[in-house]
């Protein structure tokens, strides 16, 4: 069927995830579920990650993706979802943060 929707096959993380699942790759899906203050990506934004650390999409402007990808490996292995929080106000818990001063919560779950 013709793609009516203007979805971008090459960049849309959920379309990419569907192809990766077809290829038999084990995946995790990260989703921004809450933001406070100035956050680079809106609630609902996705990052899809495989066991090799390949990823597509974004949950921030590149500030926390590295940490999310590292957590994703554990989530794929254990099969248990987890909720991560990032922000400059939370320096004790997280070394990485958002330079823009916002805070975000990212839900990471197995996909497939």
């Amino acid at each position: 069927m013709e793609n009516l929707s203007a979805l971008d096959d090459r960049r849309d993380p959920l379309l990419i995830a569907e192809r990766w699942i077809k290829d038999g790759r084990a995946l995790a899906l990260a989703t921004v579920v809450e933001t406070w203050g100035s956050a680079p990506r809106p609630v609902g934004s996705h990052l899809v990650i495989d066991t090799e650390g390949n990823f597509e999409g974004s949950v921030s402007g590149g500030c926390v993706e590295g940490a999310v990808v590292a957590e994703a490996a554990d989530v794929i292995e254990t099969g248990a979802p987890r909720l991560l929080e990032f922000g400059v106000a939370d320096e004790t818990a997280w070394e990485v943060g958002l330079s823009c001063g916002g805070r975000i919560k990212v839900y990471v779950e197995p996909l497939g």
Binding site: M1, E2, N3, L4, S5, A6, L7, L14, L15, A17, E18, I21, L29, T31, V33, E34, P42, V43, G44, P81, L83, Y107, E109, P110, L111, G112
Partner: protein
């Protein structure tokens, strides 16, 4: 998210239908809710609000935390008329993030040379809509000045509930148009939704300036619709 849920969600998105993926944040279990599904109770109301506002977020209900990820189809513009204004509107609309399609049965106008890298149909709107129907997430701009081409898509856009309907032409031209639409069975209330003369009043003179005015009016319609819904959900 289950692979099945992902496939079902992507199928809805490809077909330009609104859907919400509900995830229980405690255990990651999910379910897909389609627009038009019967929704009841407090949770149902939260889902309905989310469909209206397009805002994703967490809802506390039934003793748990649920994340609602709202997927509304990306906004699209259908321009009737492969005219000078459309030549300027097509690249501007793409830059602003809209998918745009130009429809004009006059093959001398609807040529790929005049509209590079643009979805273009050198056909009657009636025929194109059979394959790619209008929907609530589509803006329709009728730009040909020719009732034979413009009237049908205007009527169809009003019936479908397109979020924006605009028509090129002076007040005098529009008065005649309203009379024709009334004769075709369109109510005054429905035809009152047509923006005519088309475009925000910025004194636009050239075709490119008119395209700016039209695009700005489409953005205003899209965002005010969203803002109204958000205000409503805050008040509730």
């Amino acid at each position: 998210m289950r692979a099945e849920a992902l496939r079902a969600l992507n199928a809805e998105r490809r077909a330009r239908r609104a859907a919400i993926l509900v995830t229980d944040l405690a255990d990651g279990s999910d379910r897909l809710v389609r627009e038009g599904d019967v929704l009841s109770g407090q949770f149902g109301e939260a889902l309905q609000r989310a469909f209206r506002s397009g805002k994703s977020g967490t809802v506390e209900a039934e003793g748990g935390s649920f994340f609602l990820n709202v997927h509304l189809p990306p906004p699209r513009i259908v321009a009737i008329g492969a005219v000078h204004i459309s030549q300027a509107l097509a690249p501007m609309a793409r830059i602003a993030g809209f998918d745009i399609e130009i429809i004009d049965p006059r093959t001398a106008f609807a040529t790929p040379e005049r509209f590079p890298e643009t979805r273009l149909a050198a056909e009657w709107p009636e025929d194109v809509f059979k394959r790619r129907p209008l929907d609530a997430y589509t803006a329709l701009a009728a730009l040909t000045h020719d009732p034979k081409i413009d009237d049908f898509p205007l009527k169809a856009a009003l019936e479908t509930g397109c979020f924006y309907v605009g028509a090129l032409g002076s007040r005098k031209t529009h008065a005649k148009r309203l009379a024709r639409l009334a004769e075709a069975g369109v109510t005054d209330e429905a035809s009152g939704r047509i923006h005519a003369p088309i475009g925000l009043d910025i004194g636009a003179a050239s075709p490119a300036e008119i395209a700016v005015a039209v695009l700005a009016q489409i953005v205003a319609a899209l965002r005010s619709r969203g803002l109204a819904a958000v205000t409503e959900s805050r008040a509730a």
